[in-house]
């Protein structure tokens, strides 16, 4: 959507000082082309690497010197661990313990990608549907495989709701199947659209600051400060929702319903 061939046209907003879509542009930092595949190192990949490094370093360094009275860093890591562990325990139950490392990694990864996007001149990796859809598809396929491994062909019973009149069943099964297959789409579009809409809105308001000049620009600036706070909340909330929905899908696969 924000690929480089669409950034040239402004669609009538040529006089607007800030192009709101420019921030989503993917730039090649290092051209790599192997066997016809373009696997260049982009700013998207750079920010993913930064997120992974920050998460790994903070978690490894802060728990290296474990103490009963935790240091500041250690308590941050322990808090985030407890937060995700609680989420998995409440939504998946005791069987979810095996999948805790995946959920924790997923939550921290999405959270840090969202938060890195809030830094000025940062790049929001999760504002691209390619990234979020790949994550959602990975979760969808993984959960479906877990369901079939756990229940065998009995997993198809998941699509048959219990306690409904028999003549309603053909309709309800179709609805259940459709709602199951739209899961990766809704999961990925929710994260991508939230991030994209939020950052576009911030950029549009920053354009108002410049347009209204030195005297009138203070009002949109104040609104922008408030919106930035809201966006940080949304960044956290979307990472949380992404992780909790993964827990719920996992619970469906493990326990049916």
């Amino acid at each position: 959507m924000a690929s480089s061939d669409h950034t040239g046209d402004h669609h009538g907003s040529g006089s607007f000082p800030a192009d709101p879509m420019h921030q989503f542009e993917i730039k090649r930092l290092l051209d790599i082309n192997i066997g016809g595949f373009d696997i260049s190192f982009t700013n998207s990949a750079l920010f993913m690497l930064i997120a992974v490094f920050i998460i790994s370093f903070t978690t490894i360094i802060s728990v290296r010197k474990n103490s009963i009275i935790p240091s500041r860093m250690q308590s941050i890591v322990e808090l985030s661990y407890e937060f995700v562990a609680d989420m998995v325990r409440q939504n998946v139950g005791s069987q979810g313990k095996n999948y805790f490392p995946f959920i924790f990694t997923l939550f921290m990864f999405v959270l840090f990608l969202n938060m890195l996007g809030m830094i000025p001149y940062g790049f929001t990796v999760t504002s691209h549907i390619a990234v979020t859809f790949a994550l959602a598809m990975l979760i969808f396929i993984g959960v479906t495989v877990i369901g079939f491994v756990k229940h065998g062909l009995g997993f198809f019973g998941f699509f048959v709701p219990k306690g409904v009149p028999i003549f309603m069943l053909p309709l309800l099964v179709v609805i259940e199947v459709i709602s199951y297959f739209t899961r990766p789409i809704s999961l990925s579009v929710r994260l991508f659209a939230n991030m994209m809409a939020g950052h576009t809105m911030l950029k549009v308001f920053s354009g108002f600051v410049i347009l209204m000049g030195f005297l009138g620009g203070w009002l949109p600036l104040a609104v922008m400060v408030a919106f930035t706070g809201l966006e940080i909340l949304i960044a956290f909330l979307q990472a949380y929702v992404f992780a909790i929905l993964t827990c719920i899908y996992l619970n469906d696969a493990l326990h049916m319903h």
Binding site: M1, H11, G12, V189, F192, L237, L245, I248
Partner: protein, 75 residues
């Protein structure tokens, strides 16, 4: 009508979907607040459900926004 104009009008119409998301989010938070004030001790345990309902309600509206963005920037 020029195709460009039709595209812009279509994008505007697609954004009406966000009104539904607004109604849904308002209903969820309003009902949560009403329930939480009646029974404050049960409020904390239902907070994850609140966020989940908020996210699910918001997603349907955002589909409309995505249609608008596709109309503006992809087609």
């Amino acid at each position: 009508m020029e195709p460009e104009a039709a595209k812009l009008i279509g994008a505007g119409i697609a954004c009406i979907a966000l009104a539904g998301a607004g109604i849904g989010i308002g209903t969820i938070f309003g009902n949560y607040l009403a329930g939480a004030l009646r029974n404050p001790s049960a409020a904390q345990s239902q907070f994850p459900n609140l966020l989940l309902g908020f996210a699910l309600a918001e997603a349907t509206g955002l589909f409309g926004l995505v249609v608008a963005l596709i109309l503006l920037f992809v087609l």
